[in-house]
Symmetry: none
Subunit: 213 residues, 4 copies
């Protein structure tokens, strides 16, 4: 449950049956259309970008994807689950590159983070997911999964720093991660300031010295 196995697993939580089709049980009846999956996710991303999550209705997604609503609900249990899946599919894999020093790793990671956040692509999706997750245990769980996924590279950076003796070994890694990531989220969702590389640099200058050994 630690490594990439868990990761992979959680990432297919919702897509209930596509994989393994060929391996076991030739599955009588008409097989699910793979095109449909893509069309639905793609339409979801498009629409969420255009009118926001809230303005996006399942009927319109179905229409845009040239798919029936039932087909969507056969794959994802709710609007939120669909959007979460779309969100995941949009991020792609996060690469944990080791550039040799904590500072340069942080610069790379936070730079990447701010870039992603600035692109408005899924800009209004997160708030909605947070909102709904507050009342929906299953979505909460999926969302936690997603968050953990996003935090992992940063955790790795700090762990490597500790191993190399660059970083104090008495810090709580989770807290430091919060300190680095929190301000970005806050600005994005509420405070509304600039999210460019300069901000990333400022955060590093503000926090890093106190975690260095």
């Amino acid at each position: 449950m630690t490594a990439s196995a868990a990761m992979t697993l959680t990432f297919v939580t919702e897509a209930r049956q596509n994989e393994l089709v060929s391996i076991e049980s030739p599955r009588r009846g008409r097989p699910r259309s793979v095109d449909a999956d893509e069309a639905i996710l793609s339409a979801t991303l498009e629409l969420a970008g255009e009118v926001g999550f809230r303005g996006m209705s399942m009927d319109v997604v179905a229409e845009r994807a040239k798919v029936s609503k039932a087909t969507i609900y056969r794959r994802w249990s709710s609007k939120e689950a669909l959007v979460l899946a779309a969100l995941r599919s949009a991020i792609g894999p996060l690469d944990d590159v080791d550039l040799g020093s904590v500072r340069s790793d942080l610069e790379a990671y936070l730079g990447d983070l701010s870039t992603r956040m600035q692109s408005g692509k899924m800009r209004d999706v997160l708030p909605h997911l947070i909102d709904v997750a507050a009342h929906d245990a299953q979505l909460r769980c999926s969302l936690d999964d997603y968050v953990a996924h996003r935090r992992r590279p940063l955790i790795a950076i700090l762990e490597r720093g500790i191993e190399r003796g660059e970083v104090r070994d008495d810090i709580e890694i989770g807290v430091v991660v919060d300190a680095f990531v929190g301000p970005f989220i806050y600005r994005k969702l509420l405070a509304g300031g600039d999210l460019g590389p300069k901000f990333a640099q400022q955060m590093i200058d503000l926090i890093l010295p106190n975690v260095e050994a």
Copy 2:
């Protein structure tokens, strides 16, 4: 409740006409009922606390406040606007106490912040407001107002620190505010860790040394 009510209402952008009543206003026609304002906001807070934003319907708010729906919509243009107003009225005035040093001021402020956040009173409201604000300019504006209001005491603390020479004068105050507040928001909405005083202390230890002169 009259004095603070009026004060609070000043922040309620949506309450289109109440403010400044005392200064100059022959104000023709039947005046808006102050009782209604209070009853509505109070019912909103109650319900949002009990069943969350999503589970709260305008009809029930009206019923609980012994008020007609029209009376609510005469004051606030939407459910969101109402809840935002309720949120504001719930905070009440934030007191900017000067305890003599930046560190103690920060401890007080962040301690208070974490306390407020832990109390689930309006726990699920904020995400929804953020969500809707993403596509509703007016609400966005009101929300910004609210955020600015919340940031003000922290800004004051830092400014006093600069005056006193405790804090470096080459920092961007806004950035530091983000660094302090962001992690709380992030934990609350996404990361989901502890928000107790220990976390506040950790953030101070992590950031404060680098802003001190």
Copy 3:
């Protein structure tokens, strides 16, 4: 309760207090504005003509008449009462002219009737009154009054015919009146055919021979 006394009385049922002011009780306090009465009735007629009774709201009547809603309700107890009053004020007195023969009297009366009906002035008001009267005793009563008022000249024509020996004395006058007037109402409200003088003539040719002595 038989003669013109009743008639006069019933016709002022709604206008509760204007008349007789001078005779008794000089009525302390500010007297009702006569202009308001006129403006309201006039606005009512205008609007009923433009958008129909149903599309006409009391707020708009008040606005158009430059009068407050309370001023309207002080005079008439409901929308329907107002419209009925407007309807009456629009008809004016019906003249019962004696042209010497039943046929010529009928031609005059029905010609006038068709003319009035064709003018769309109050074309949509009657149906609504009928509608509401079905559930409102007071309005029903006022409407009956109005109907009786409209029938009277025709009754007089037939009574004169009987006196003169032109008309059989074994007919029920009420039935004959219904036979003459009914088709106009029916066409106007439901069947929707022409209402010109030709139709009037056709009705006379169809019915009169059988009532002649």
Copy 4:
């Protein structure tokens, strides 16, 4: 009930798609529930009979018919359209029986008409429909339809009379129909007299002699 239901529905202009089903229609998707149609119309008739058109709310109709409001509005565009449809379905097919002579046919038809009118079943509905139709083209059209439907048997009676030489061939049939039916409508809606068989007989005596050859 299936056969006559379909037949009745043909007249229901508003029921946008049911008719012609049998001729050609693979009709994809879930078909409209026939039960729902019947339940709605039936509930409408019941309620309109009990509390009148005005007192009848769509929510209650829906509740009584165990159907959602949306399901009603999917079939009829407004309260009025629904009631009109209910009115039609209530009449059922009018039978045009040939009793051999115009007089006996008329006696049968007008007797039936007066019976129907006396039963207060839909007694207050017609005025409202007339009222609304005055400003609603679509409803006007449907109402005209309905009226034409009701007139047809009487027209047939007169045409047979002409063929048989019983009735003059220089009359305008429409005018004669108005002469016969108008008085009933007038009494019902405005004048308010008796509508029993005696009245029917009186109308026949008054008008028929002048249309006989």
